[in-house]
């Protein structure tokens, strides 16, 4: 994947070379040209075209924003309620994610989503301990995370 | 006109700093205070952004970023200290 991006950049520079004009506009044009070339020949690569990943990232971002907004409102509502009707607690969440990046991303997303907070990570990087604001059903929460964030992350990182 | 909104926001934010101050003073645990301080930092960041908009200048934008960085480092330092009794 990194090779693709690098190649794209090189192509942009080659474009500028050819045009003998060093400006941002030319760079962008060159980049787009390279991108199109890469896209057209995407099956040439053994792995996926990197724009898919970018797209997945965007999706993750949007998903996250949605979750952020949603659960923020939930928390705000909880705060503003005259009586606290919550059942907080800590639950362990087994993740399938492996690499440091993935786990970090997941933990951060969990943290950023109101209502949940990653408290600790087990030494083998397999279990996240999550403090949740309202833990009526721990399994449900786990499943939610698994379906939303973990899946989205996997889409970005896994081929 | 915009200014009215901005100053209103500033007032609201300064109130929320006041709230953080309450937590900061009250505690009870140190982590509470750290969290409060972190929040103060973030609110500060927002305030300065608003001040920038209000004064129609980008002069203080650097500070915004800087506060972001520093509250982060500060909080980490506090937390690590709390956890291990040492920072480095």
């Amino acid at each position: 994947m990194a090779l693709q991006i690098l190649l794209n950049f090189i192509l942009a520079f080659v474009w500028m070379f050819l045009n003998n004009e060093w400006s941002v506009v030319q760079f962008i044009v060159g980049f787009l040209v390279g991108l199109i070339c890469l896209m057209l020949l995407r099956r040439f690569w053994t792995y996926e075209f990197y724009l898919y990943r970018v797209w997945a990232l965007m999706k993750l971002f949007l998903l996250f924003n949605k979750e952020l907004l949603h659960s923020s409102l939930v928390v705000l509502k909880q705060i503003l309620q005259p009586k606290l009707a919550i059942q907080p607690g800590i639950f362990a969440y087994e993740t399938e994610l492996k690499s440091d990046w993935e786990i970090t991303l997941l933990a951060c997303l969990i943290c950023l989503t109101p209502g949940t907070l990653t408290l600790d990570v087990s030494d083998d990087n397999r279990t996240l301990y999550i403090h949740a604001m309202d833990i009526q059903d721990a399994d449900l929460l786990s499943r939610q995370i698994k379906c939303t964030f973990e899946k989205a992350i996997m889409e970005v990182t896994r081929t | 006109m915009m200014d009215t909104w901005l100053i209103l926001s500033l007032a609201v934010l300064s109130l929320s700093i006041l709230g953080c101050m309450y937590r900061l003073l009250k505690g009870p645990s140190i982590s509470d205070r750290i969290a409060a301080l972190d929040t103060i930092g973030i609110v500060l960041l927002a305030m300065i952004t608003i001040v920038c908009a209000w004064l129609r200048t980008t002069t203080y934008m650097d500070i915004v970023l800087l506060i972001g960085i520093l509250t982060f480092i500060g909080t980490i330092a506090f937390a690590r200290y709390l956890e291990r009794g040492e920072v480095l």
Binding site: - | L55, T57, T59, Y60
Partner: protein
């Protein structure tokens, strides 16, 4: 504004001094840092407050605030940063060696 600032400066001085009068080295250190804050705000207050834009000429404003006190404060901040860090380490080392941070026990009449 100068009125309020002066009062804040007064409060900073007051609490700073109060802390410095404590026994515990820790409070004393905190007191000095408050004192420093007070001095810096004082220096700022002493130039006219809010008479114009920040002294960045690129902004094209009509008037600017007095830049000189700012430069002085900067120098002072940096210097007190140096001094404070040395003081921290001194306190730390002193506590390790002397076994107390109570300045009342560090009068130095009994030994040597």
């Amino acid at each position: 504004m100068e009125l309020y600032m002066s009062m804040s400066v007064g409060v900073l001085f007051m609490v700073g001094v109060y802390l410095i009068l404590s026994k515990s080295l820790l409070r004393i250190i905190l007191g000095t840092s408050l004192l420093t804050h007070g001095v810096h705000l004082l220096l700022l207050t002493m130039s006219r407050l809010k008479t114009g834009a920040a002294p960045l000429l690129g902004e094209g404003a009509n008037s600017y605030v007095d830049p000189l006190p700012q430069a002085l404060i900067l120098t002072s901040i940096v210097i007190s940063f140096g001094v404070t860090s040395l003081f921290f380490v001194l306190a730390y080392q002193a506590y390790r060696k002397l076994g107390t941070d109570n300045m009342d026990l560090l009068r130095g009449k009994e030994d040597e």
